[in-house]
Amino acid sequence: ATLDDVKARGKLNCGVTTGLVGFAAPDANGNWEGFDVAVCRAVAAAVLGDPNAVEFVPTTGKTRFTALASGEIDMLARNTTWTFSRDTDLKFDFVGINYYDGQGFIVPKALGVTSAKDLDGATVCIQTGTTTELNLADYFRANNISYEPVPIETNAEGQQQYLAGACDAYTTDASGLAATRATFETPSDHVILPEIISKEPLGPLVRHGDNDWGDIVMWTLNALIAAEEYGVTSANVEELSAAAGDNPEVNRLLGTEDNLGAMIGLDATWAKDAIAAGGNYGEIFEKNIGESTPIGLARGLNAQWTEGGLLYAPPFR
């Protein structure tokens, strides 16, 4: 079973993107950082008690599924869209959604384009092997306009092609566009078009068939979300977990009451470790892609359900 493998290895192999600032990218010292990376670290913390016990395996849109299917990685947290065929035909299990997204376009301001429908005849850069590639084909066909795709392997290359003017527009998940734009020299010269042409629920996934492992990843993610809902932060998690408090849900979450951890084969402090690793969902969001960062994404759909968003962690009980 995967859990045993991970424990025996002492490291979690986690698939991430080859480099998308804010989601997963190595910094100048080679440390991986980002929104997806934080999920990996949380799982590693929950399972092994050490948020740094992760081997990050960079994958492209093309290699990610084979890496997961062949067992090279234990889980994939690479802004991957939950789709029917990936879940069923490719035999993966999506364990949740960590970012509700949709596909958008970015174009240079100088082009004077204000709507995706104006892109008739344009050259569009697109990452191969992604849902966005398929959506793009559908969208242009449905609107009966023509385009020319320039398939590229990684976001980095897409960005280069786009900046060099080899394509008029670049399309991918809106979050990815924002992250990419943030790295531009003059981000204000580029606009993200208003159209969102698809639903892109992004979430971590594991191989089908090992439900125990799937549960661990699923509930680690839920723990992060729930922690935000209940106000458990990296700052107060130590204090809250020192002794049982007055919120029984928090107590159960942090292992001071009942022993949920044992039910999934982990320590009682699993959720505490996960939260301590990088903070709760809100903290992770703010730190990596939130409005205070150059990427500047608003919470929008990704706010807690209590705040009008879609994040809704099932009860810990």
């Binding site: 490291k11 080859t18 960079p58 492209t60 290699t63 084979t66 090279e72 280069q160 900046l163």
Partner: protein, 430 residues
């Protein structure tokens, strides 16, 4: 005898004519210029055209190269310094130097280890490449792989030590029995080595002697990864290549066809599909509970790839040997393994070295393909982390030029070596 011409007959020279220096028209720079640059009218035009091309290349690249900026923190800063002038921003090299060479995850404080391994490589390779050096040095060559493994991956020294011990014991046993019969030597050697490995594994499991901090192979990267892949795969594929070549030459049809099919199959598909197999399919062929390290899988595939090519080179070497050598060995009563080991292979391999070196160069260049399956070799580093970073987005020339220069230095020197060797063998053999 009739009318022979008296004046031409009975000529005898009494003294030797001393050799004289050739007249000036035969040598000298003017003559050289005339012969080599302007022998004919059309040729002169060609010279002028060539000069113009050289001028074009130099005039466009030299200012760019010489005006390069070496100190800056990002491309933006570079541009600031340049103030609109066009010149190289080599600062990316100084800033990412270590990443380019070692990848972005090899612990910086351990850089000395691969560096040391690299330096030792020269000592280890020397006796293989230059026959004149004392044969004793080969001992170090034998030790080197184990040492390099220890230095690069770290961990306890016991692992490579036991592996080395096994090989040594195996070799001794082989040597002891090979005179009796090759099969006995071979099996004895392998068995002895296995025994040592198993025993060693049992006795020392968990022991922790001279432990270096261990580094996982995922963390290898940069040019170091190219070098490692190149060297490992070539050295592994030589013995396999020999076996395949002998198999293909053999008159046992089944053995022969197995080898032919293998060789032709491997040579028929691009390396990149084999690498896809390594990254996508190979783990399906291993027992479910064991996942093999991607590095190892890549090594397996590249080794298979190069061994097929090396087999063809060695087959050429075998074919180049006169049939008489086989017959002489036979007529002296040597059996097949003896004839091969003592007579045929030493000669065939020597002939094949230039070819093998060429394959090695090709292979070394092909190690860059691993970037396609997301290993971070030097090209992978450039295409991925470095170009994707905010600081250096847009610096292509400098980076690719750097990589090109590295490859050029290595490949060019190897191919010069191989040409030198070819010349030497040509005179050596007569």
């Amino acid at each position: 005898m009739s009318d022979t011409h008296a004046e031409s007959v009975a000529f005898v020279r009494e003294t030797a004519i001393p050799p004289a220096l050739p007249p000036a028209t035969v040598s000298g720079p003017v003559k050289w210029m005339r012969d080599n640059l302007f022998p004919t009218w059309a040729n002169g035009l060609l010279t002028v055209a060539a000069l113009y091309i050289i001028y074009l290349i130099l005039s466009s690249s030299l200012p760019w190269l010489l005006g390069g900026i070496w100190n800056a923190e990002s491309l933006a800063q570079c541009r600031e310094i340049l103030q609109g002038n066009s010149a190289a921003c080599f600062a990316v090299l100084s800033e990412r130097w270590n990443q380019l060479l070692f990848g972005f995850k090899y612990p910086p404080e351990l850089y000395w280890r691969p560096t040391l391994a690299f330096v030792l490589l020269f000592i280890a390779a020397a006796p293989v490449l230059f026959f004149d050096l004392p044969r004793k040095l080969l001992i170090f060559t034998g030790i080197y792989p184990f040492l390099a493994y220890w230095l690069i991956w770290g961990g306890t020294i016991l692992t490579p030590l036991i592996a080395l011990l096994g090989v040594v014991v195996g070799y001794l046993v082989f040597n002891r029995f090979v005179k009796g019969s090759f099969a006995a030597g071979m099996f004895g050697g392998v068995a002895a080595a296995l025994v040592v490995w198993i025993l060693g594994g049992m006795v020392f499991s968990g022991a922790d002697l001279f432990s270096l901090r261990s580094v996982s192979s995922r963390d290898l990267g940069g040019f170091m990864l190219n070098m490692m892949l190149g060297i490992t795969c070539v050295s592994l594929s030589v013995p396999i290549g020999i076996a395949l070549a002998l198999g293909r030459q053999s008159d046992l049809p089944i053995v022969k066809y197995i080898c032919v099919v293998f060789i032709e199959f491997i040579r028929g598909v691009p390396l990149i599909t084999l690498l896809f197999v390594a990254s996508v399919m190979l783990s399906y062929f291993f027992p479910p509970e064991r996942t093999v390290d991607l590095f190892l899988r890549v090594v397996i595939m590249i080794t298979m790839f190069s061994s097929a090519y090396i087999a063809e080179v060695i087959r050429g070497g075998l074919a180049a040997l006169p049939k008489g050598q086989y017959e002489a060995a036979d007529s002296l009563g040597l059996d097949y393994p003896q004839a091969m080991r003592l007579i045929i292979l030493p000669q065939a391999l020597k002939i094949s070295i230039p070819g093998i070196v060429n394959i090695a160069v090709g292979l070394f260049k092909d190690t860059t393909l691993v970037s396609v399956i997301t290993l971070f070799d030097i090209v992978g580093m450039i295409r991925g982390p470095i170009l994707a970073s905010t600081d250096w987005n847009g610096v292509y020339w400098e980076l690719f030029m750097f990589a090109s220069v590295l490859f050029f230095i290595v490949c060019y020197s190897i191919s010069q070596y191989s040409q030198w060797l070819e010349r030497r063998l040509a005179t050596d053999h007569r």
